[in-house]
């Protein structure tokens, strides 16, 4: 398998008052193109830190993060932001959407950074919302949507700019089982039909079974790397 995301000897530390707290310590990890990986571990194990490093939201104190064989730009905030806009889509656990915008406008936000006509943007947004099953909810604001629908809008926003990588931080953490299954099925579809590489932080055993592979972090170290047999919803 072609290795798309490569984490090489990555360490990251944070300052908490006078103390230096270890978030990741010499982590090595390879994720293949079009792979769906569940990232698990107790709170404070470094999951979100690893996700932020892969997404270019943060920079490692040591080691390298390579995407498609190229090291992530550690340059200016602007360069990293441009890189994110091109390559990564983020989905968070909650408060994902901007409350004063409609579903359509929320999804349109990443496209405002691109040179596109208004009509092009609108067409793309409509197509993506239709893909996530919300073609009839374009003008609904977040408070008019269910939790599952909100998450699907967030997924639509994450994929509207057509990035290769989707980084999901507890995307089903706030959802009931039915809505969680819908979101997981959608992520699975994105992997299978649209060749997305997905890294999903989760505490949920059921959610992690949907992935092709589970990685468990503990105290900043990679402790288990396990392939799943089917990677399908049960």
């Amino acid at each position: 398998m072609l290795m798309y995301i490569q984490i090489q000897n990555v360490s990251k530390f944070y300052r908490k008052g006078a103390n230096r707290v270890k978030a990741l310590e010499k982590v090595n990890l390879d994720i293949g193109l079009n792979e769906f990986v569940a990232l698990k571990g107790p709170s404070g194990s470094g999951k979100t830190t690893l996700m932020n490093l892969i997404g270019g939201l943060d920079t490692p104190d040591a080691g390298r993060v390579l995407i498609g064989g190229k090291e992530i730009v550690h340059g200016s905030d602007r360069q990293r932001a441009n890189w994110r806009a091109e390559n990564v889509g983020f989905i968070f656990q909650f408060n994902n959407l901007l409350s004063f915008l409609t579903a359509e406008q929320n999804v349109e936000i990443p496209l405002l950074l691109r040179r596109m006509s208004s009509a092009e943007r609108k067409n793309k947004v409509k197509a993506v919302l239709k893909l996530v099953g919300l073609g009839d909810r374009l003008n609904h604001k977040p408070n008019e949507l269910s939790g599952g629908q909100e998450q699907r809008v967030a997924i639509a926003r994450a994929i509207v700019a057509d990035p290769c990588i989707l980084l999901c931080d507890e995307p089903t953490g706030d959802l009931d089982k039915e809505s969680a299954d819908e979101v997981l099925a959608l992520l699975r579809t994105l992997k299978e039909s649209f060749n997305k590489t997905i890294l999903m932080v989760t505490h949920d055993q059921h959610a992690s079974q949907v992935a092709d592979r589970s990685i468990i972090l503990n105290k900043g170290k990679l402790v288990i790397d396990q392939l799943h047999s089917c990677g399908k919803l049960t």
Binding site: T48, N52, G55, L57, D58, S76, D77, R78, R80, A81, N82, R84, A85, E86, G89, F90, F92, Q93, F94, N95, N96, L98, S99, F100, L101, E104, Q105, E108, I109, P110, L112, L113, S118, R157, A158, A161, D169, E170, G173, V201
Partner: protein, 387 residues
């Protein structure tokens, strides 16, 4: 949706907050714009300076008269082109609160010192031949619907006639444009001879004399020469440039220079404080939103630009409201003061642009500190689940 629409949507989600931010900025700019407008209205000082005229009054006070022999003496001073004199009539029409400026002018010299006015042949003849004839501005004629030949009675609060009556009857002899004569838009010129012959007291005196200095002469020298001549007389004089004379009237309303500085200081403080606090508040309150935008590819600089643009839209909105308010105020004042130059707010397009430039500059300066704060903020830390 495009970026400006996004900014507007963001602003409209908290209308109370936006309104409470706009109001103080708007109020402070109203003060600033009014001061600019009032200064503009007094800007005719510069034009007066170029007219090379000096005004001489009694050194004690303008209400103390000077002798009518003064102009003859002044005419002898080298560099003097012509001298005329004026007496303040101080009257009203029908009701004590219906006031306008009435000047008794020395008719043979006044229009040699000031620009001549255009009169029709009939008007000119009436002005020459009829002792009670007065000249009025077009604005005054419109105000009272006066026509040439109308008999009008003006009651003077200063001067009684020889029959002890302070109601003076005049005939409208001519109507002229106030701009032509460099005078108040609501002015009436009375013939000094007629006025002098019929007043009970004060004959042979004048309120102030106006000297036209020859173009090739030094106005300052003439100014000091006039006062030197009368220094040891019974009525020592005080001579100043016409602009300074007008300015002394303005000072009765307040020191415009000081007021400008005061209002400008208030505007700077208000705009800087509100811009800074509004932006800092936005960064704190909208940390999660900014973090999400950062995750989807917005750089901190771009996020900062959006926040600054929001504040600048608020400031521009406040300035627009302030300009509209002052325009309305200007019209109201104009109507109330009937075009008097001493009570006027004049705004032109350049002033409006200048106000916008000042507002945007102050808003940008006030944004620098919060922007620096945003650039230092670790937005990624707000994206953790539960953050």
């Amino acid at each position: 949706m495009n970026s400006p629409q996004y900014i507007i949507r963001n602003l409209t989600r908290k209308p109370v907050h936006v309104t409470l931010t706009i109001i103080p900025i708007c109020v402070s700019f109203v003060g600033f714009i009014v001061i600019i407008g009032v200064r503009n209205a007094y800007d005719f000082e510069r034009e007066l300076d170029s007219a090379n005229r000096l005004v001489t009054i009694n050194r004690q006070s303008i209400i103390q008269p000077l002798a009518q022999t003064l102009p003859e003496t002044v005419r002898e001073i080298p560099g003097v082109n012509q001298v005329t004199y004026v007496t303040w009539f101080g009257g009203y029409f029908e009701q004590p609160d219906v006031r306008f400026a009435q000047y008794a002018i020395e008719q043979s010299t006044y229009f040699q010192v000031y620009n001549p006015v255009e009169l029709t042949l009939a008007e000119h003849e009436m002005w020459q031949d009829e002792p009670r004839a007065v000249l009025i501005t077009e604005q005054l004629a419109n105000r009272f619907n006066w026509r040439v030949g109308d008999l009008v009675t003006i009651t003077s609060t200063i001067w009684q006639q020889t029959n002890f009556d302070n109601r003076w009857q005049f005939i409208i002899g001519g109507i002229f444009s106030s701009e032509q004569a460099d005078t108040d838009p609501n002015a009436m010129f009375i013939k000094h001879d007629f006025f002098d012959n019929n007043r009970l007291v004060g004959r042979g005196t004048l309120t102030f004399a106006v000297t036209k200095v020859a173009a090739n002469s030094d106005i300052d020298t003439v100014q000091s020469n006039i006062d030197n001549i009368f220094a040891n007389s019974r009525t020592p004089t005080f001579t100043s440039r016409e602009s300074a004379f007008v300015e002394s009237f303005q000072r009765q309303l307040g020191d415009l220079g000081f007021l400008t500085q005061l209002v400008m200081t208030i505007v700077i403080m208000v705009v800087l404080l509100l811009t800074t606090s509004s932006l800092v508040q936005s960064i704190v309150e909208r940390r999660r939103e900014l973090s999400i935008l950062s995750a989807v590819g917005y750089s901190k600089l771009r996020l900062g630009s959006i926040l600054i643009a929001e504040v600048l839209v608020i400031i521009v909105g406040a300035v627009i409201f302030a300009l509209l308010f002052v325009q309305g105020l200007s019209l109201a004042v104009d109507q109330w003061a009937d075009g008097s130059q001493l009570l006027k707010i004049e705004l032109n397009a350049l002033d409006s642009i200048w106000v916008f430039v000042v507002a945007l500059f102050l808003g940008s300066i006030g944004s620098l500190l919060p922007l620096a704060q945003l650039l230092r903020t670790d937005l990624a830390s707000n994206l953790k689940a539960g953050a």
